[in-house]
């Protein structure tokens, strides 16, 4: 069974977003994953995403293959926060992705800017 049991939040400074997205695509995880624009407390722009991963994908992301040029350097600038849903009591699983996302933003002094035209 293909089970995506890991709640994963990834956060990345603007300078590394393009490379991080390209590396994810090179791994076969698709393009444009870092899609949420974020604001750091210091005023800089970051990007983020939340996804469900299989445990095998986490191992690759944290220890990228040498054949992907620059992957190790870029990965060092990407904050990856992981929560294993299976380890969370069943009664607390509802809303886990949103709680995880907001906690990861807060822990890294990040917030979602208010939409300007709404």
């Amino acid at each position: 069974m293909t089970a995506y049991t890991l709640s994963v939040v990834q956060l990345c400074p603007d300078a590394y977003r393009e490379q991080a997205n390209a590396i994810a695509a090179a791994y076969g995880y698709g393009d444009g994953n870092l899609s949420v624009e974020l604001r750091h407390a210091d005023g800089s722009t970051w990007w983020g995403c939340h996804a469900w991963w299989m445990p095998s994908a986490l191992a690759v992301a944290l220890d990228p293959p040498e054949e992907v040029p620059g992957a190790a350097e870029v990965t060092a600038h990407v904050v990856t926060s992981v929560v294993d849903r299976e380890a969370v009591p069943e009664a607390e699983r509802e809303g886990l992705p949103l709680r995880h996302w907001l906690q990861a933003l807060s822990a890294n002094n990040l917030s979602v800017p208010e939409p300007a035209d709404d």
């Binding site: 049991t5 698709g30 995403c49 949103l98 709404d118």
Partner: protein, 391 residues
Amino acid sequence: MRFQSQRPTGRLFPGRRRPLALGFNPRSLFRGGEQGFFYDPSDLSTLFQDWAGTTPVTAVGQSAGLMLDKSKGLARGAERLETGVPAMAGVSDLAEYNASTGAGTAYRSDQYNQSFVNIPGLSMTSWYFVDVTNTGANTLSVRADLASGAAFFSVPAGQRRAGFARNVTTVVITSDADVSGVAFTVNSVRSVAGNHQSISVPASRPILRQNAITGAYYLETDGADDYMVSAPIDFTGTDKVSIFAGIRQLSNAARAMLFELSAAGAAGSFALNAPISAGGGYAFISTASSGVLATLPPTAAPRNSVLSMRASISGDLVSISENGAAPVVNTADQGAGNYGNHALYLFRRGGTKLPWAGHFYGLIGVGRLTSAAETANTERWLARRVGVTLA
């Protein structure tokens, strides 16, 4: 007995018994050929893990990159494989294609010198289910054209694979490698009617879960980056719409958008804010030239809701009700004209902001005002899935 549920009972007829909705299928709302959409994640045959639709969703805990629309019955169009022709780019001229059997070969010297099979004459507004068996030793791709770069999907050597091509006038079948020939058979190329929802960004896919009490499947969105979007849906033939949503709202801490026709409040659009603001209520908006809102009182989250929304531009009507209660109605003037030809976004405004966090059990929208019986039946159909007792 099948039509027992069609009796006009329910909240619009106080004092009468609400119908059981046994045997009712929301597909019947579209029997007149009305424009609309019917998304039903409890029907796993409509869900695929990838944007191209090559891998079905078969179990909870799998992400959904494609959700088919059932409003048009997933009707298949005419077989197109006989329209295929060999084609070439650059110096190659080796491709072969048998339009009767679908058997062919693809060649590639380099990206500029290829011969391939071209299936032309497709409609930009349709989706096509393309089924190919690769009998060669190298990977094939099903693409929009040679220059586009991105493939709809690949067909590995020795395998049969089917998926969707969309929003193109031609589909080409090419070799991925610089090889002298890859043999294949096109088994079928047929349109599949509907306003299907998809998302190509893997991290933005919602995930399938199951309600332990009702047994219904639903899509869980993360409130961060999940969303789906359709091709433009042509509502220009009507100024009326009835929409029904079954959801569990997990947060009302910030404004969020459950669905929106257009990227952001265009003329001829409608949308559901869920909620309209931090701590606010659900708000349905219909816009011709002026947006008019029908807003329910603020409510706590999490919350199970079956929402019923109606709008008529010429009739100065925008209404919303929750769980069968009396509707909130706004009769302000929305302007004139019909709805537009816009993409329908789910779970995130324009795919970029106002993300919605919750459980999505279904969404049904039809380009007319439904009858009292249809409204009651559809609400009940959704309520059974969400686990709501209607008023």
